[in-house]
């Protein structure tokens, strides 16, 4: 028995070492990105790779990204605004709809719910062109408003909320009703506070997707002053293509905030996504 467990531990150590190589290879591009972003341009492609730069040029590189021609401050602000507003709206709207489907007995409920779910099947590409035309008709093309409107609606969020709220015992709402509370009070004072974990999960996942969303701003925005960070980095990479240290500094600025959010909200993100998450 004892020898068996020693042998098991040796196997475990060997496998850990092998997996370590896989894991480090996986994050290697990010490590290289960070290292390159700190270098002077001439050293970026030096081989063998200088992981810790001999000559630091970090301040100048990041200053150029943040305050140079490209104005990452503006890209950040645009992205931040869209992401926060769309996330808040989506959580509120999803919670409201989830509550209606979970706790309110209204007419045609059993037709509307599956109809909404069926919409999940339709790929974005099918509705992209008509959405673009609608935006033009409403005068919303090239505004942040259209992006926020489009991203505030998610069948997935509604479904997640509904599934969670259904499991909250009916007795709680019933006793509140007897005390004279109406649906709005029950929703805001009982059900919503009890749904905090799912609200946190949805909010964080939505934040990540909206921050990373590329297709929506690509189709609906034209003016550079409205660009989100995803369009910004694309533009930056194609126009400053040969200044690789700068491009890497810009990539760091795009990726790192999310990695920080991920590490902070790890538990919610991993659990939420494992619970059967799809992009939405």
């Amino acid at each position: 028995m004892k020898t068996g467990s020693v042998r098991n531990n040796i196997v475990k150590i060997v496998l850990t070492g092998m997996l370590m190589i896989v894991a480090i290879t996986t994050i290697m591009p990010f490590l290289w990105m960070i290292s390159a972003s700190l270098k002077v341009e001439a050293d970026v492609f030096k081989f063998p790779i200088e992981w810790i730069p001999r000559k630091f040029n970090a301040v100048a590189n990041y200053r150029e990204v943040w305050m140079g021609r490209y104005n990452f401050v503006m890209f950040y602000w645009n992205t931040f605004k869209i992401t926060v507003v769309a996330t808040v709206f989506q959580v509120i709207f999803s919670a409201m709809a989830g509550y209606a489907f979970a706790k309110v007995q209204f007419k045609f409920k059993n037709i509307i719910f599956p109809a909404l779910l069926a919409a999940l099947m339709v790929p974005d590409q099918v509705i992209l062109v008509p959405r673009f035309l609608l935006a033009r008709w409403f005068g919303l093309y090239d505004t942040h408003a259209i992006i926020i409107i489009l991203l505030s609606f998610s069948v997935y969020g509604m479904f997640l909320m509904r599934q969670y709220m259904v499991t909250i015992p009916e007795a709680l709402s019933e006793s509140a009703k007897i005390d004279g509370a109406n649906h709005f009070r029950i929703f805001t004072l009982i059900i919503l506070p009890m749904s905090k974990p799912i609200v946190a999960t949805l909010a964080i996942i939505k934040f990540v997707w909206t921050w990373n969303d590329y297709q929506t701003p690509l189709v609906f925005l034209k003016s550079r002053s409205l660009y989100t960070i995803q369009l910004g980095i694309r533009q930056f990479a194609s126009e400053s293509g040969t200044f690789y240290s700068l491009v890497m500094a810009a990539a760091v600025c795009t990726i790192i905030p999310l990695i920080i959010i991920f590490l902070a909200g790890q538990k919610y993100i991993l659990e939420g996504m494992a619970a059967g998450a799809v992009k939405g």
Binding site: A97, P123, R131, R136, A274
Partner: protein
Amino acid sequence: MDLSGKKSSSIEKNENIVGYVFLFPILINFIIFMAFPIIFSLILAFSHWEFMQGINLSAMKFTGMQNFVGIMKDNWFSSSMKNTLIFAVSTVPVGISIGLVLAVLINKYVFCQNFFKISLFLPYISSAVASAVVWSVVLHPSFGPVNEFLKSIGIQNPPKWFADLKWALPSVIAFSIWQQLGYIILVYMAGLKGVPADLYEAAEIDGAGEVRKFFVITLPMVSPTTFFLFIIQLIGSFKVFDVVSALTDGGPGTSTTVIAYYIYRAAFKYYEMGKASAAAWAMFIIIFAITLFQWNQQKKWVSYS
């Protein structure tokens, strides 16, 4: 409280109003930005529309199947179709197999589980565009670190990766697997938690080794998870856009163009809205058919116990 008669019908009415008030924001958004676009794009798919002179509905002409015939004759479309199929049938099985093996290892056979889970997950939450930018520099044909390394170990002419007609699509596939792997591992690890430990204990008593336990117990027990991932990943790979747009713009030539990119290009570069809509519906039908097929096949290999 008297809940019978008139009173209860007024409660019922009240419930109706409350229900729709709560549903209002989602429902209005759904009707305008989902239901209407679906119908409209179906109409567009069967029409010709000169979009260049501004948006004018009277310039729309019904042309029957012409758009569908048009895309079938379009070389870009057939290349997109071929590439999408190659992309799907390589990323999905490879990603899922590697993901399962890694998930099993992380779950039981290694130390520092969390470190592995997190580091392998990082590509999944990182912006596809920024990651693509990093990859294209790391895989730069003439002085990227990967090719420098390959040259240093004696490979004279390393591939030009994203700039190489032959290597571009495999590189995009590799990027995509790298990106999705963390998610696959995560879902599998959740699935592995549901496998009862006594099954393994019973197998051990029968003298089964680790490999045998994997094939006899783990593989069938996680088959519902595999099925879920298969469907989700297959649908996702048919819709792939960000990756291609950010890495290669469909090039070089037509070597990495995919259906979603074809649709984008037709609609927003050439303003051929009818053609774009026809291609989008073709894509939807293919996705739908494959999902349906998968669904019907699941009895053969998925075990729900």
